[in-house]
Symmetry: C2
Subunit: 252 residues, 2 copies
DNA sequence: AGAATACAATCTGTATACAATATTATGCAT
DNA sequence: ATGCATAATATTGTATACAGATTGTATTCT
């Protein structure tokens, strides 16, 4: 079911397998701790073992799987602490990105892109009541903003590292935005987030590296709050991306 | 030649291929930009295509190779800026590790391990004139210290990210220590580095997160200085690990 | 009845064959 | 002579077959 939407894309079998497997994992059909039988995946996806094997290696590097000493791969389980730390790492690296951008300077056109994105976000945040569509639009613009920030940092080495943390669904910049739609604190958190966005751009423009860095770190703290609020009850918990990978404290 | 030392280890073909290919790249036999012909690697290593393919994927994730859009892999080239940024990222992440350790507290035994390592380093640094053996011993203890710091942070998510950045040879904690042996500033830099080590442990013990973080960041700056000193002339340049991957500014 | 061992089924790791695609070289036309 | 098109070649992506290892089960011995 989860993979059906991606069946007919024309690309390599390896990529298809990677996307399909990721969906299988994130949708919970393959549970944390499960050893992934290559043969069963073969008949489930109708792809031969070789590209599936490639996909498994890539997903291991991505962090969704872990190698089993005796051979093969298993779905990785994450604790709440893991997610917390992953968010903290993202915040730290995005902070570094903001500092790079501020200290090294950003071209006028890139700064303009950031400001344009800022305005698109502004227009949404000031609305009195946000619809579901508004939220999904917000997710898109929010992702764009974070992408533009990394571009502004102009550092391939840093971009690589950020890509890696963000690839974990619950650490991604828009991971908890969907959850926010359900929370009473939504409007408030969005307002603060947008204040951060605006100030970071301002700090970059004014070449205030330290301030830009601190702001992005603080920005990630909002994700921490969302995480805690979201995991508190079952209804919102299910909306957390990759929630099925989270093992509760006393699971073993 | 470079790979011969690893020929007879008993492990999987994939791991053998990965190690051999890494050596081939780092020794400069495969030059930056070169497309890696799978078949030629097959006859060079006497390993079939499948495990070589796996190794190529892993080396791509590791950052030594990059995928070519039309297919296959090429050896990645790095600019001096890339190396600078990789070191900065490492410093930032190790700073975060130090902060985690300080804020969350470290068990007595782990703190004792750190202090023991500190003393082993101390004993070496105070020697008036360091031999080559002293330096290689220093490299070992230095690596141990950085490993212990990551352990003290007790954060798998962070450890993963640090592993990734350290896997690039020129970003690793001991990358430039060998070069230091050739530099007149050697003793001075080692003294400062050890001061950082000592203060970080102190800061962790005293639960001073901010100080611990700042110190590890500053610590990475020593690597920046080593980098600049080392790349200045050809003799020391050759000692920089993975120097063959560095393209000079006006290479294209 | 419980534990240990042996056997069987299954699975992963590796090798190789095949097919599709990209690259290169050659020839022709402008 | 240069540029483009076509064909030959080489290389990657995929499928599958085989061998070694591992895991689970059943039987036997204590």
């Amino acid at each position: 079911m989860a993979a059906t939407s991606l069946e007919n894309v024309s690309s390599s079998q390896t990529v298809k397998a990677q996307l399909a497997l990721r969906d299988l994992i994130l949708s919970g059909e393959l549970k944390p701790g499960d050893r992934i039988s290559e043969l069963s995946v073969v008949e489930r996806l109708g792809i031969s073992r070789t590209p599936i094997r490639m996909a498994l290696v890539r997903l291991e590097e991505e962090g969704l799987l872990e190698g089993i000493p005796s051979g093969g791969f298993a779905v990785k389980a994450f604790s709440e602490a893991d997610i917390h730390d992953a968010i903290e790492v993202r915040g730290t690296l995005e902070g570094l990105a903001a500092r790079f951008a501020a200290e090294r300077g950003v071209s006028a056109s890139r700064l303009a892109d950031l400001k344009a994105c800022l305005e698109k976000l502004d227009e949404l945040v000031v609305r009195p009541k946000l619809t579901i569509d508004d939220f999904s639009e917000y997710v898109g613009f929010n992702r764009e903003f974070h992408t533009l920030l990394v571009v502004a940092a102009d550092s391939p080495a840093l971009a690589r590292q950020i890509d890696r943390v963000v690839s974990l669904p619950f650490a991604s910049e828009s991971g908890f935005v969907k959850v926010q739609a359900m929370l009473p604190e939504a409007q408030y958190i969005l307002t603060i987030a947008q204040e951060h966005h605006r100030c970071v751009v301002r700090a970059i423009e004014d070449r205030e590296g330290g301030r830009a860095e601190a702001l992005m770190r603080e920005h990630a703290r909002l994700a921490h709050r969302n995480l805690q609020l979201a995991l508190r009850n079952q209804r919102t918990r299910e909306l957390v991306p990759g929630a099925v990978l989270i093992r509760r404290r006393n699971d073993f």
